[in-house]
Symmetry: C2
Subunit: 497 residues, 2 copies
């Protein structure tokens, strides 16, 4: 593209004049990608490249691609690539609906990994050489370094590991975002306080690696939150009860540090914390939602470290209008750090994550329906649950209009084992599993968490298991452990006639 055709606005985002010659249409950038290549893309909720993936999906000239990404679920990225049928494999957080359906249809191999370990695996050569990093940024500096948009995610590692880098400079994100991130920090560095900075607010990039620059103006619009049903507020209320109990017992300080997973329950918990007048909380977390940003504005959260803003268009405007405020209170760091064990352990963190189903002994399934179908990846849930001081999992007690009990005799897939689940919460109450053997947990899980419609049947399963194998460590009746799931598949309900 001739540089004269570039808008002044675009030129102002590329501070190295020599790089202007690399500006090209998305199709020309995409054309460099060949079949069978391994791609690492930026983004994590927001901040993913949109023009090049869309172009790849349109031309379909390159097939059998491997895509590695943190948690960028957008339709113009993950959805487009998967729907085009050009992906052989995806490794990262599975959330996009199209991609999930294609995966469950067997046309896309998906490898689910703990997000905190994803780029370590890439670095260790598990997926072979990374051919291209495709990265969205808002600014390219004089030396080629880039300022990403509003995520950090896997981008720094992707750029370091890739042979070549394709950049999308997104004019919809102001260049003044610079200062939001903290990069170039040794991996073993512990952070003293969530908003402290130790490195530089940009990612070092050797200009020789840049194979193309595409100018875009594409706001992040993929995220929306579902309506909040009363049940979610009830769950959130019970989470707050758990926290109140910890405070009363002196096991938690009033200005505690926490992580909160994505989703509507997490957002309701945030509102619950506000209503209870918690103040000066700190977050080390994977993503920050609208509600979390609102909590920052209200002083409920004083500081936050996150790897991405997982926010709706409404809050993008707010962030762009109050950049200095948000930069003062929060930092975007690589997800190797946010989800890494050392800082989580050092913080005595309260972790709050979502289960799809849990069993009477406290094992949690975060990812699979009926043990077989991918719902969404496990993401960073176990990164936090495994290393937190207090690991809370939430789930509604039922799904599918009461036809599925989310508390089951045995979960059909395990993402967080009973060792990583401290407290289980539903709209009915909570079960504190911490000081209990598996058998000691059963009554609390059933009577405090399960839906009343299923309690009797759950007790009957346990009693039957004990009758069969004695009061051994973890009594199970293997003939019937999945009978509820089989019944659901056959009759449309887990309920017994």
């Amino acid at each position: 593209m001739s540089t004269t055709a570039l808008s002044e606005e675009a030129k102002a985002r590329i501070l190295n004049p020599e790089l202007l010659s690399l500006v090209m249409p998305a199709a020309e950038a995409a054309a460099q990608i060949k079949s069978g290549m391994v791609l690492c893309t930026s983004g994590f909720g927001t901040g993913y490249p949109k023009a090049i993936p869309t172009s790849l999906a349109e031309t379909k000239h390159a097939t059998e691609l491997t895509l590695i990404n943190g948690a960028a679920r957008g339709d113009r990225h993950m959805g487009a690539l998967a729907s085009a049928g050009i992906l052989k494999k995806f490794c990262g957080f599975m959330y996009n609906e199209d991609a999930r359906n294609i995966c469950n249809a067997g046309a896309l191999q998906f490898q689910d990994v703990h997000l905190g370990q994803l780029m370590t695996k890439v670095k260790n050569g598990v997926f072979g050489k990374v051919d291209f990093a495709i990265v969205e940024c808002c600014k390219i500096k004089e030396d080629g370094s880039i300022v990403p948009t509003l995520s950090a995610g896997t981008t720094e590692a992707a750029i370091a590991l890739a042979d070549k880098v394709l950049l999308e400079v997104n004019l919809a994100v102001p260049a003044e975002v610079e200062g939001f991130h903290d990069f170039g920090v040794p991996s073993t560095k512990l952070v003293g306080s969530p908003a402290e900075r130790y490195g530089v607010p940009y990612i070092k990039l050797d200009p020789k690696k840049i194979a193309g620059i595409v100018i875009t103006n594409l706001p992040d619009t993929d995220l929306y939150y579902p309506d909040i049903a009363p049940i979610y507020n009830q769950i959130a209320g019970n989470v707050v009860k758990v926290l109140d109990g910890e405070l009363a017992a002196g096991r938690l300080q009033p200005e505690f540090t926490f992580q909160s997973g994505m989703g509507v329950v997490a957002n309701c918990v945030m509102v619950g914390l506000m209503n209870k007048n918690f103040k000066n909380l700190k977050m080390y977390t994977e993503v920050l939602s609208d509600q979390a940003l609102y909590a920052v504005k209200e002083g409920i959260i004083s500081e936050a470290t996150t790897t991405a803003l997982d926010i709706t268009p409404l809050f993008f405007d707010d962030v762009f209008q109050n950049l200095d405020f948000y930069k003062e209170h929060m930092v975007l760091r690589p997800c190797d750090f946010t989800n890494g064990a050392p800082q989580i352990m050092a913080e005595n963190l309260v972790a709050m994550n979502t289960a799809w189903e849990a069993d009477i002994y406290g094992n949690v399934n975060s990812s699979h329906a009926m043990g077989s179908y991918m719902i969404n990846g496990l993401g960073g849930s176990n990164d936090f649950a495994r290393n937190a001081k207090l690991s809370i999992f939430t789930t509604p007690s039922t799904a599918k209009h009461g036809n599925i009990s989310c508390i089951v005799p045995m979960v059909t897939h395990i993402d967080s084992t009973e060792h990583d689940v401290d407290v289980l919460v539903t709209e009915w109450g909570y079960a504190d599993l911490r000081d209990k053997s598996p058998k000691e947990r059963v009554n609390d899980v059933i009577d405090h968490c399960a839906h009343p419609d299923y309690r009797e049947a759950l007790h009957a399963y346990y009693d039957g298991a004990v009758a069969q194998c004695g009061a051994c460590q973890t009594p199970h009746d293997l003939k019937n452990a999945f009978s509820w799931h089989v019944r659901y598949s056959e009759t449309g309900s887990m309920k017994q006639e």
Copy 2:
């Protein structure tokens, strides 16, 4: 006890004369323990108190006790307390045969936790106040500080958290063991090299906390190794093949760092490493066996950090005769550190642990028979597997004379999820799961790891699952997922007629 009755040898072990008045018979020390108390004991394989637990078991004056300990499985400790029926609850590593049987009979509540997190949970108040620490040592210093015997385990934290401390000074262990340990190091400190020291070789102990001192002369004799069947050497040979492959691919350096779990396969691997002329390896591990000490002597292992010597009487003599040599090459540190994520992550460790069964997708059961009966606790296996650079699990392909396949359609209990298992090894070969989706793993696990007698049936299970639910993320036929286990329970064999 009058101090004149004390032998000169005993007096030489207690350097603070004021403490001599606290020397008492084991029964008098044990008498201070009351029903319902929470006890933390020292030891981890070796180094546990023997006289006071034996006395408690004899008098049975205190019942409903909670015992917290790292991995001290000895009959004079765990076995005696459990067999006496005075334990309500145990939290730590379950390995003692009597205790396991009592647990599976329902008369002892056992809570299995990741050993690396055990004392963090105690510190967080999960089990309430610790009434007594009961600790074996070889020396009490002028200020009350103690030099433990040949383990570190949970002892430092137990002493810090307990209201009162009972000490057993074991004359069978020379006082010159002093210098083997490294205590008083901040929990966030990373170690530069396994044998480097940063703290002090003793545990600080306020003499006011000491409630009694018992003099013993009781060598650690509980450990023995079973005979090595050819199959274990075949498994070890396949592990060495995996390591050779990593070296050849440049993913491992010739002087790599590793962890090795306990057990006969681990010991055979050590011999395999010696036979292949590996040199200057480093270990960060939970326990060191006879074979590991031999490897240190031979220069195969140049340095090791461990939390305990898990050795037989033969090697105790060798250690006592060569204390300076072993102190130079190894350090005993608390198991919070040895099993803690930060150092394991920093080391790019190769972790080698044992599975009881694994499934076609790579999930590992380390602890339960038929999903119900405790075999042994998960110990530190997942501490290492979860954070290692390369996580290897080994198992014989069959058990019970071929009537149990250790490779099954679905494991009945999960301690390490498919996300934490990189390579699965049996006597038949190995399956590298690292770059594979669940479905992509199936053929390798079946054809490289399962016993030939079960391969056809495993393929049939998978094909049946796909026929039923399509080639979704993790195809399972929930009606038949445990049919092999049920068949074993009913017929004594997993084999189909």
